[in-house]
Amino acid sequence: MNQHTDRPGDTNGDGHTDTSRDMHPDGQAGRRTGWHMDDDLAVAYAEGRLSPTTAASVEAHLLACASCRGLLAPQVSQTRLDRIWVEVVDVVDTPAPGPFERLLRLVGVRHHIARLLAAARSLRLPWLAGASLALFFAALAAGETTRWGVIGFLALAPIVPVLGVGLAFGRGADPAYEIGLVAPYSAFRVMLLRAAAVLITSVVPALVIGVAFLGQTWTVVGWLLPALALTSLSLLLSRWFEPVQAAAGVSALWLTGVVWTNLHAPSLAMFGGAEQLAYLIITVVSGVLLFLGRREFS
């Protein structure tokens, strides 16, 4: 049976084995399409061995031809049908994730990690928008040539990730904390994942806003090491205190230090070379202690 113009094999130009050579032209659909499936084609289709083009052609024919559907039905294994059904149900029945989760998946974050991150309050739009707005105004003020202008931006930029991390996990910030506490998934891992995500979502806007308003000066990056130091320190302290409290305490200490220094020492004394080295040391030491005490978080 080879005389028809729209049979599946005719459109197969991709090198796949064409199993649609023998077809029989009878029945209503046969009169319209000019061909029917035979056993070999039905088996090949049922086993998923046809090329996508040929399979599409077969499917178009099956929609119009009851006799071919009848021929095909016994060839499809129940296991495959069940698997296909599960896949269909999963696609149709699973709610679409929120915009932040979709964005995370778009940039390559695995689906289950994206969901773990999306549960954090400080990784949701209201927090991200609020933090960006605060940085925007701080950068605007930094353009002024007053004693407090640049300091305001340098003082605020490290606090945004610290508070964000504090609000990303722990009893006070996570409504389902108790359920997560007794789940087998590592609480330490969840904490680090969210801390990393908060750092990225805080640092990038701060850098963009800094460059946009302050130009390419050292001020734009002068807060980076303090941010890392304060964040790792507050993570370490969350072994003993609620994360929100640890973050608030560290932030208050930082602000006090910046204000005091600005009043009693050269304005940018907290951001000099030796100080930056100290922030690096705090980051490394806190990180090591955090890792050594990771079991305490579970």
């Binding site: 699973t94 289950h112 969901r115 773990l116 409504p175 389902a176 789940a183 998934y185």
Partner: protein, 280 residues
Amino acid sequence: MNVVVDDLTKTYGRSRALDGLSFSAGQGVTGLLGPNGAGKTTLIRLLATALASDGGTIRLLGMDPAKEPAAIRRRLGYLPQETGYHRAFTVFEFVDYVAILKEMVDRRARHDEVRRVLAEVGLSDVSHKKIRALSGGMRRRVGIAQALLGEPALVLLDEPTVGLDPEQRLRFRELISRIGEDRTVILSTHQTEDVAALCARVVVLKGGRQAFEGTPAELRALAEGRTWLSDQKAGMLSWRTGDGLFRNLGDAPGGSRLVEPTIEDGYLLLLGGLPEEATR
């Protein structure tokens, strides 16, 4: 026995929440009954591996929670007393989130499991709804659904029926009794009706100690011959009923109009200071 607790103690500062508690529980629903502050939630949190004890031993599913917490957690379902929910998540997303915390990483298998537990608690139709749009009863069902993820061998439910209306409570009882058919369920409650309706065994806590362990029928039997009606207030505990008579608990005087006691009568006698020999 899937749960064996021996001489368990837990102290918060100067307050001793559990004081030498011992009991055991096998398959089926075991009720933890006691007034507020009796130590029920502390005990449930210890069994859930959310807390560490100060003394005594716990064996859960044949394992020591101090040594093998992760292995226990993989076979545990837990509904805390004050369950919080990520309100911006849909029902499906929240249960899926907990499934991820339960180490179900394969997306399709996890989604199947989420759909299964939502069907089991009758929430399939609202799986796309935001949690914040649900009623209190529906949220409790979401809590139960997450506790059933992964077909746990041990399910801990802390006050699951608090705040539910009678119809919702009935639905919960149906659900919990079904869950208990092939699992060990520990149900903490201060509702004697829940115990009467659901539990094969009951443990009564009082001041962090075990005041009673037995069947609901045995708890009710504690008030046999100690429950009577009278025109006047009498007995150790007494209250006026709807028909104007007083229902009295305690040692009944001769010629009293004795009535069939309830589990609540036995429970109240225990809490009210039943003579120790009567509980043996």
